[in-house]
């Protein structure tokens, strides 16, 4: 079989990308998502894509799927009713939630505290205690456990989570509770904290375990159901799910640890961006994925996305490895408003959402959104999404007029430009979080823009960050599906050590790494990969003894010479990172908090598409001109059709380049060069002239 399938289910659309592995030729399908049962839309899309490629479903190999099923369960509050077993004295660990109140000095007055994911009435405590060094202070009281679980069973919990104090140091009691739970609760799924997150800090570990339990039944049902339907439809390959860290897992493995899928969607975008950037010859870049309500950004260095240890979904922050994606509540639907008291112009965080949507959509929206501002300025042609949506320019102008009325701005164009400038600044804030604030200079990076609105704002963000070129991938709307189809299998194993360097030597640490590597490889080998296919990398979270935060650094396994070379290289790597991030070092001893092994399968061999080549003259794709408002005045912009552009064509700004699911704005003083792989590379004209068009 030579076809592989990438599937990305978003809030509005399901994107399917069928890739001919040998030619790199792709076939796309875009169908409305089916929230009640995502698999309906997925199968419909697969059939459409196969029809476009003129192949039968039986020719489809593996299906790689980025899914928001776990994310949506959290955001919509539609997960399982979770029971939680805690140590006596700690039943309110989620209720107290580390006592954190967000906001400023008077923030507590207006903060609505979210309800815990496991309700307090479904949380029980059991006798038995383990000390921080793993010794048993008091044996587990199994009668107590049984009584507590009976109570939960009677209350009708749908999933169980177990998180006992200090279980990261000794999982014995948790395992015994799990065993009793099998007897008492039968087939209920059980999430055990020492398996989900064997790390110190009881609140974070409990929350992560409960989140896992909360989404598990829904994820398990969905993946089993979809696998079955794929098989019934004749698809011969297996179903894989994209993890938050950008690796793939078999459907079964994914369903065992669904908390690692919460950022599956955004991770697909970053993986897709990595693929596209690589084809265009770039290995260091920022990703900029702007949708209707929010924008996700990440930093990729040497083709490897920065990985974070936290995953944020809505109000929830869990400890799970994920691509370090930062989200800001700014998108095409963000609403501009002027609070009467301060008369400041604010954009977001409120969003018009899909309903009623921007005023320009003509579905009853009257508040001015970012999309309306783009329409007023002429950046968005009057039809979107292949002509399905027609934009109402007058309605957009009327909405933006409300901003003019509330401020001293002179015209709707000025107000619209202000809205765009402010939303761009909000997104710049997110890009700075992953670059400048992590010690990276954005000018050393390219900027890959995608998502429905990304290409429209990308040139401006390039100007603000100095990240050039701005790369607009081919079909930016289905980039996530591309990422799903072009990434590799992955799993990881992690362990808390909490040991000062003085109590470790190279051999002891290497033994730990060997064990972790075996753990990390296990699920992949179970899913059919052979050990020789797998690459294992290692990382450690380090800090100075006494610090509260760790810095992740890669472990160079080859440095372990048995003479302290391994620890020395770790110490050096940590000091370099600390210096880069905070510009000082301390004399304190180094401490290793956690170690992690990540096993990855081979990257799939997928050929890149190649455009027919042309010269710098892009007039073949020019379909007209349109007056747009930019930098305080009206100018005529060329209107181009993207699918008519040839490799080597240069589109000089001001220009608007349209395609089925996206619109790219090229600002005056900038030019977009068409790369043979299909991406547009936007640069300032001065720099383009100096560097020449890159091949």
């Amino acid at each position: 079989m030579t076809y592989r399938l990438g599937v990305d289910v978003g809030g509005t659309f399901t994107d399917i990308l069928l890739v001919d592995e040998s030619s790199g030729e792709t076939y796309r399908a875009k169908t409305p998502s089916t929230p009640h049962d995502q698999s309906v839309g997925v199968l419909r899309g697969i059939m459409q894509a196969c029809a476009a490629a003129d192949i039968g479903l039986d020719q489809v190999g593996d299906v790689m799927h980025g899914t928001t099923i776990a994310t949506n369960a959290i955001l919509e509050g539609k997960g399982a009713r979770v029971g939680l077993v805690t140590t006596r004295g700690f039943r309110q660990v989620l209720q107290i939630a580390r006592s954190f109140v967000p906001g400023g000095l008077a923030g507590w007055i207006i903060w609505p505290k979210p309800e815990p994911l496991a309700a307090l009435e479904d949380t029980v405590e059991v006798g038995g205690r383990i000390a921080s060094d793993g010794t048993v202070v008091e044996d587990l009281d199994e009668d107590d456990v049984r009584a507590a679980l009976d109570k939960l069973a009677a209350q009708g919990v749908e999933a169980l989570s177990i998180s006992l104090i200090n279980s990261y140091a000794n999982p014995e009691h948790e395992r015994r509770v799990a065993k009793v739970a099998q007897e008492v609760l039968g087939g209920l799924t059980v999430s055990v904290s020492s398996s989900v997150l064997p790390e110190l800090r009881e609140y974070e570990r409990t929350l992560t375990t409960v989140a896992n339990a909360y989404v598990q039944p829904r994820v398990a049902r969905y993946t089993a159901n979809l696998s079955e339907q794929l098989t019934e439809s004749g698809v011969g390959g297996k179903l894989y799910i994209l993890r938050s860290d950008g690796g793939l897992a078999s459907a079964a493995t994914a369903a065992d640890n669904p908390v690692s899928l919460l950022l599956s969607g955004p991770a697909g975008g970053v993986s897709g961006a990595a693929w596209v950037a690589e084809q265009a010859g770039f290995s260091d870049f920022l990703t900029f994925d702007m949708g209707g309500t929010s924008t996700d950004v990440a930093l990729v260095q040497d083709r490897v996305p920065r990985i974070g240890r936290e995953t944020k979904v809505g109000d929830l922050t869990v400890r799970a490895t994920s691509v370090d994606v930062r989200t800001v509540g700014a998108g095409g639907g963000s609403i501009a408003h002027v609070p009467p008291l301060t008369q400041a112009l604010r954009v977001g965080p409120q969003s018009a959402g899909a309903v009623p949507g921007p005023a320009a959509y003509g579905q009853g929206g009257v508040e001015p959104t970012v999309t309306d501002a783009n329409v007023v300025l002429g950046y968005l042609p009057t039809s979107l999404a292949g002509g399905e949506v027609t934009l109402d320019r007058a309605a957009a102008a009327a909405a933006v007029q409300t901003i003019v009325d509330a401020t001293d701005l002179g015209s709707v164009e000025e107000a619209a430009e202000g809205i765009i400038d402010i939303v761009n600044e909000n997104m710049l804030g997110a890009l700075r979080l992953v670059s400048v604030q992590q010690g990276f200079d954005p000018r050393d990076f390219a900027l890959v823009a995608f998502g429905g609105a990304g290409p429209l704002h990308a040139n401006a963000l390039g100007r603000l960050t100095g990240a050039w070129p701005v790369i607009i991938p081919p079909s930016p709307g289905v980039l996530c599906a591309y990422g799903d189809a072009t990434t590799s299998m992955r799993d990881e194993a992690v362990r808390t050590l909490m040991r000062p360097f003085s109590s470790l030597d190279d051999d002891a640490l290497r033994d730990q790494l060997v064990e972790l590597a075996d753990d990390a490889r296990a699920s992949l080998i179970r899913d059919g990969l052979s050990e020789s296919d797998l690459t294992v990398t290692y990382a450690a979270d380090l800090r100075y003894h006494g610090q509260g935060f760790e810095i992740p650094v890669a472990i160079d396994a080859s440095a372990f010479d048995g003479n302290g070379g391994g620890l020395a290289s770790l110490r050096e790597a940590f000091d370099a990172e600390h210096e880069r991030l905070f510009s000082f070092l301390l004399g304190n001893e180094h401490e290793i908090v956690t170690v992690r092994a990540t096993a990855s399968g081979p990257r799939p061999a997928v050929a890149a598409p190649v455009l027919a080549s042309g010269d710098a003259d892009s007039s073949g794709a020019l379909v007209g001109t349109e007056s747009i408002w930019v930098d305080g005045g009206a100018v005529d912009a060329g209107l181009y059709q993207r699918d008519q552009l040839l490799a080597g064509n240069v589109v000089t700004g001001p220009a608007v380049i349209t395609e089925m699911d996206s619109t790219t704005l090229v600002l005056p003083g900038h030019a977009a060069t068409v790369h043979p792989s299909g991406s547009l590379l936007i640069r300032p004209i001065d720099q383009s002239a100096a560097d020449g068009a890159e091949g």
């Binding site: 008077a106 009435e121 104090i165 905070f582």
Partner: protein, 623 residues
């Protein structure tokens, strides 16, 4: 008065700044301020800053007025009191409240102030202070509850140049760190404070490079003006001209046997301006609870309460200060005479939340919350390991407690939280890994939140079992007077502390004490206080009360305070509930009191020993 050295002497012109640039600058400054926090949290070593975030950043305009921050620390007062020159590359440090116009208010807080230069002139100030876990003195954590003078409270650093033109004064730092018990903590935390200020400085310089220094500073003026205009409008809306509002609350005792201290705050609007007047408050305390408060800090507190509800996205700044006059009587609790002891001023700071709530809420229903966990009580434990591989090694813990947020106009008060922004508890597993203790319970106590339509949050019971001999210290309050309820809501429960000794005896501890010896096996119960209730408890949904009984947040007995009759599983008896509610309603006045502070003070004092196990404090006297 500091003499500022600038190579570019021509003043920056004032230029017009459009609303959009203004918002861009505002947003960038907000990001820079959060970045300061981030840098410090990630590098600090002392648990107080690292885990609990006891620190406060600020970015000022060229004159030192705060343009972004969360807690004013007055740079103008600092500069007014500093004798000497300030030039590019200097970094100033102080911990002396009496030498900086109370820009900080006790010697544990180390304040770093850094001028921000751009092209030879000052374009702003970056500043941050953090609470050092230990600054020396006679007791671990440097907060003796019986101190009478600041000389007993550890090293007091006068304002000086920690860095002079970019060069660290190693000798001075060495002398300072020689006074403290955990010099590596102080060194790391201080490094973090300086690194955070350097970060802010870089961000401001980038803004000047991007927009031009003249546009940047003009934007700051406009941001300050935005606050001024907003506040002017708010004052007119909320307060009647010429009318005086007053509110009084208490600190229960001063650590040396006197109390309660009466804290009174009055507000009068006179035309465009308001006067905040502390006249009528108790004289300065003998013990260390005095809260030497800076006038600008009063303004800041007032403003933040006023405007948070009006535009939560506003960048909080000093612009409205000219609209607020502040009167603080000399030699009072709020302005003690040098060298009065100051270490335990955290009770006073916390009570400011309640004072402003009670004062402003009278004319602004959105701000009328009950009294809540307006505190950051301290628990300290220290000693030397007596055995094992760490034998002889010194350990020292400083930890903050949490309690009940009050019932609020928007709903119930969260259980076991804090009014302080960004404070978080230290994970118990972290405590057990780094200290010789075991946490036997960390839970909220049912029925400690005041009953109300919106329930007050519950207090926390933290039970520590000690594994090594050592000494402990406690700093808390509200053990005598009640966290009041509002609009018919009832007060929350008061705090308690006791040790269950390993020999089976129980020892009740006062809320302020240090150097209490503990032995392995002793268990300390550090029980904080609940938040007051908001609104009529009889109007609360009986099913919700039942659910909270199932949750263990309210007991079946406690449900009766809501007029709800239910069993231990929270099943509500509807008829009995209706009957009880009717009975309770008949026995109370038609109009419920706006404030309910529990029994009159005389009665509280008379029953003090019987109810709390502790002797009643003696009335405060003027020194």
């Amino acid at each position: 008065m500091a003499q500022i050295i600038q190579t570019a002497t021509e003043p920056l012109p004032t230029v017009d700044v459009d609303v959009i640039t203004l918002d861009l600058v505002e947003n960038a400054l907000r990001n820079a301020r959060y970045e300061m926090d981030e840098v410090l949290f990630r590098t600090a070593l002392s648990p107080g800053i690292r885990e609990q975030h006891d620190e406060f950043p600020l970015i000022g305009d060229p004159e030192g007025k705060m343009v972004v921050g969360q807690f004013g620390l007055s740079i103008p007062d600092f500069l007014e009191n500093f004798e000497g020159t300030i030039e590019e590359g200097d970094v100033l440090l102080t911990s002396d409240p009496y030498s900086c116009g109370a820009a900080i208010s006790h010697a544990n807080d180390w304040l770093v102030v850094m001028p921000i230069y751009f092209e030879g002139r000052i374009v702003g100030w970056a500043s941050m202070f953090g609470h050092m876990s230990d600054v020396g003195g006679k007791t671990p954590a440097s907060m003796p509850t019986d101190a009478r003078t600041i000389y007993e409270e550890g090293v007091v650093i006068p304002p000086f140049k920690l860095y002079k033109a970019g060069v660290l004064d190693e000798d001075a730092l060495r002398i300072i760190l020689n006074q403290v018990r955990k010099p590596d903590w102080n060194r790391a935390d201080l490094n973090g404070l300086v690194a955070a200020c350097s970060t802010a400085s870089r961000r401001v310089q980038e803004l000047c490079a991007r927009f031009g220094a003249d546009t940047y500073t003009s934007a700051l003026d406009a941001l300050l003006d935005r606050n001024y205009r907003a506040m002017k409008a708010l004052l007119q809306m909320v307060f009647k001209d010429g009318e005086t509002l007053s509110f009084t609350d208490y600190i229960c005792d001063d650590g040396v046997g006197y109390g309660p201290y009466e804290l009174k705050l009055s507000l009068t609007r006179n035309g465009d301006k308001v006067l905040l007047d502390f006249t009528g408050s108790s004289p300065q305390a003998k013990g260390p609870i005095n809260y030497f408060i800076n006038e600008n800090l009063v303004r800041m507190f007032f403003g933040i309460y006023m405007i948070t509800v009006a535009d939560p996205q506003i960048l909080w700044n000093d612009g409205f200060y000219p609209l607020v006059d502040v009167e603080i009587p000399e030699d009072s609790f709020w302005k003690p005479k040098f060298p009065a002891a100051l270490n335990a001023r955290n009770h006073g700071i916390g009570r400011v939340f309640d004072l402003f709530g009670g004062l402003l809420g009278q004319t602004n229903p959105d701000l009328l919350n009950a009294a809540g966990f307006s505190s950051s009580p301290h628990f300290m434990y220290s000693g030397n390991y007596s055995e094992g591989e760490r034998k002889g090694e010194w350990f020292q813990l400083y930890s903050i407690g949490f309690g009940g947020i009050p019932g609020r106009p928007i709903g119930d008060g969260p259980d076991g939280h804090s009014l302080w922004p960004s404070f978080v508890n230290i994970p118990c597993e972290y405590l057990e890994s780094y200290y010789p203790l075991r946490v036997e319970a960390w839970e909220t106590v049912s029925d400690t939140g005041g009953a109300g339509l919106h329930r007050g949050g519950n207090a926390v019971d933290a039970a520590y079992r000690f594994l090594e001999p050592g000494t402990i210290a406690i700093h808390d309050d509200r053990w005598l007077t009640y966290p009041w309820g509002v609009n018919g809501g009832e007060p929350g429960a008061r705090g308690r502390k006791w040790i269950d000794r390993v020999d089976g005896t129980r020892e009740i501890l006062p809320s302020k004490i240090h150097d209490v010896e503990v032995a392995p096996g002793d268990v300390l119960h550090f029980v904080t206080w609940g938040g007051g209730g908001w609104g009529d408890p009889l109007a609360r949904d009986p099913e919700l009360v039942g659910l909270e009984v199932r949750r263990g947040l309210v007991t079946a007995d406690g449900a009766r305070r809501y007029g709800v009759v239910c069993d231990a599983s929270g099943t509500v008896d509807t008829d009995a509930t209706a009957a009880l509610r009717a009975e309770l309603a008949a026995g109370r006045p038609d109009v419920l009191p706006t404030f309910n502070s529990g029994p009159p003070l005389e009665e509280i004092l008379a029953r003090c020993e019987e109810e709390t196990g502790l002797p009643a404090p003696k009335p405060p006297v003027a020194l």
